[in-house]
């Protein structure tokens, strides 16, 4: 099957998903990110790599936070960044997507950073660019529906590698609403590609995708069982609309069963790190003591996220 992320030379042309990324491409992105991390620590936090290029942030779903990290990353590469907050009208859904893209291509866009509520939307965009013969325009998926959030997956891998060096002996637990989580899907794929020893998915059946075991994870319904001796705990955000009684009885019961507290964290290895893609729901999926505690690496994740996004854009724009 044609891999839509690669160009005719087999180089990364779009970043749409972790799925389909060879291990050495992931490692190359992480290595490049570590160089960019130094750039962000300098007095002049900018390199001229994308000077004169136009990066369009096209967000069909609001997320000031993610959009900002992409904007900072692009600006540190000296690109011109244009933010479009495209609110979806109920009538003209997908037309808006491709019409918007055609318009932006006509404005000489070099790269699209796309967030969309529909799984697969960035693939539609990439295949459209291919069809109109504009393979030189790159697409970065900034989150599509429940499918993928590849830069978050990569920055999570960067964070884990930073603290744990090697993946081969790691036990990683991903806790919470995996069914609706694009972060979880990207993390699981990245971890299995990088050879983590064990990936555990912890949550109630109503929040686990069908046949999740085929993704290469071990399912745990019990936090005590799932957290035991693990090296990394990735907590997922629980959206408010999941707590309306159809998937979960209440936030209180969820926190009791699956919220991360210091007490539960003690079951993990003493040097375990706690991650969260943000924004956190304190007291719903994570206790403040843990979120602000010594094992949390949630803020470093944000710092690493800029460098990883710089690396992705830098690599794509050069291919």
């Amino acid at each position: 099957m044609h891999n839509p992320q690669l160009n005719a030379n087999g180089e990364l042309s779009h970043l749409l998903s972790i799925e389909g990324l060879p291990r050495d491409v992931i490692v190359h992105i992480l290595d490049t990110a570590s160089s960019f991390l130094k750039v962000s620590a300098r007095d002049v936090k900018k390199v001229p790599l994308l000077r004169g290029k136009s990066v369009f942030n096209v967000f069909f779903e609001n997320s000031t936070r993610t959009r900002t990290t992409f904007e900072i990353a692009a600006k540190r590469l000296s690109a011109d960044v244009i933010n479009l907050d495209v609110t979806r009208s109920s009538t003209a859904k997908g037309e808006t997507l491709l019409d918007t893209v055609d318009n932006l291509v006509a404005m000489h866009a070099d790269m699209f950073v796309v967030r969309h509520a529909a799984s697969g939307a960035p693939y539609l965009l990439a295949s459209h660019l291919r069809r109109i013969g504009r393979d030189d325009v790159h697409v970065v998926n900034a989150g599509d529906g429940r499918h993928a959030h590849p830069t978050q997956g990569l920055l999570d891998m960067y964070t884990i590698r930073h603290y744990k060096k090697d993946f081969s002996n790691l036990v990683v637990a991903i806790v919470g609403d995996i069914l609706h989580s694009r972060v979880a899907r990207s993390d699981i794929k990245a971890l299995t590609t990088l050879g983590a020893a064990e990936v555990r998915a912890i949550g109630p059946e109503t929040l686990l995708p069908t046949e999740i075991k085929k993704m290469g994870v071990r399912v745990c319904h019990d936090m005590a069982d799932g957290l035991r001796d693990c090296d990394v705990v990735i907590m997922l955000r629980l959206q408010n609309e999941r707590m309306n009684g159809t998937l979960l009885p209440s936030a209180r019961e969820y926190f009791h069963c699956y919220g991360l507290t210091q007490e539960k964290l003690r079951l993990a290895r003493p040097d375990a790190i706690v991650m969260h893609p943000g924004p956190m729901n304190r007291g719903v999926e994570i206790d403040s003591d843990v979120a602000d505690g010594p094992q949390a690496v949630i803020l470093p994740q944000v710092t690493f996220g800029i460098a990883v996004r710089m690396a992705v854009m830098g690599i794509l724009a050069g291919n």
Binding site: H28, T32, S35, K38, D43, V47, P48, L49, G314, G318
Partner: protein, 173 residues
């Protein structure tokens, strides 16, 4: 790319050249002079100069990948080594060290990057060899060896098993 013995040029001993380069620099050296090696050949040369010149300060390392002007053609493929300038460059005299001076584009990129760390008092350029064919108005302040090579040829500095610097000549098809 194959190693080709064809052009009958004598390749000098690079370690001896490092010593010669150090002697060229020594008279001009100021107490606050800092060395910055360009990844990767320039870093090897800079480390040797640091030892030969008995410098106490650390040397800076620079990888110009993010500043190259051929990024559009070549992309970001090779492993990029992080640049590391472990000192304040503000108002200090710097000597940029590279192995080969050719088109001058690498030097240009390195100077640009250095200015993103601050405003040095001066920047001088030290290289082991100037092989001609400049494309920018750049010249070395210190250079023990000048030779004119064909653009199809590439001078490659590498370290051997004994960690000695050696030159080789590669021929491009």
């Amino acid at each position: 790319m194959t190693t080709n013995p064809m052009p009958a040029i004598e390749l000098p001993d690079a370690e001896i050249q490092c010593a010669q380069l150090a002697e060229l620099i020594r008279p001009e050296l100021r107490p606050d002079t800092l060395l910055v090696g360009i990844h990767s050949g320039g870093v090897w040369v800079a480390r040797r100069l640091q030892r030969l010149l008995d410098l106490d300060t650390e040397i800076g390392l620079i990888d110009v990948s993010f500043y190259r002007d051929d990024y559009r053609a070549k992309g970001l493929h090779a492993r990029v080594k992080p640049s590391s300038i472990p000192f304040d460059v503000e108002e200090r005299p710097l000597i940029l060290v590279d192995d080969v001076l050719y088109t001058g584009r690498t030097t240009r990129a390195a100077i640009n990057e250095l200015f993103d760390y601050g405003r040095p008092a001066s920047i001088q350029l030290a290289v082991l060899v100037d092989r001609g064919h400049r494309q920018l108005p750049i010249c070395a302040n210190y250079c023990p060896w000048k030779v004119v090579l064909d653009p199809s040829q590439e001078l490659v500095l590498s370290t051997d098993a004994d960690d000695r610097l050696t030159w080789s000549l590669a021929e491009h098809a």
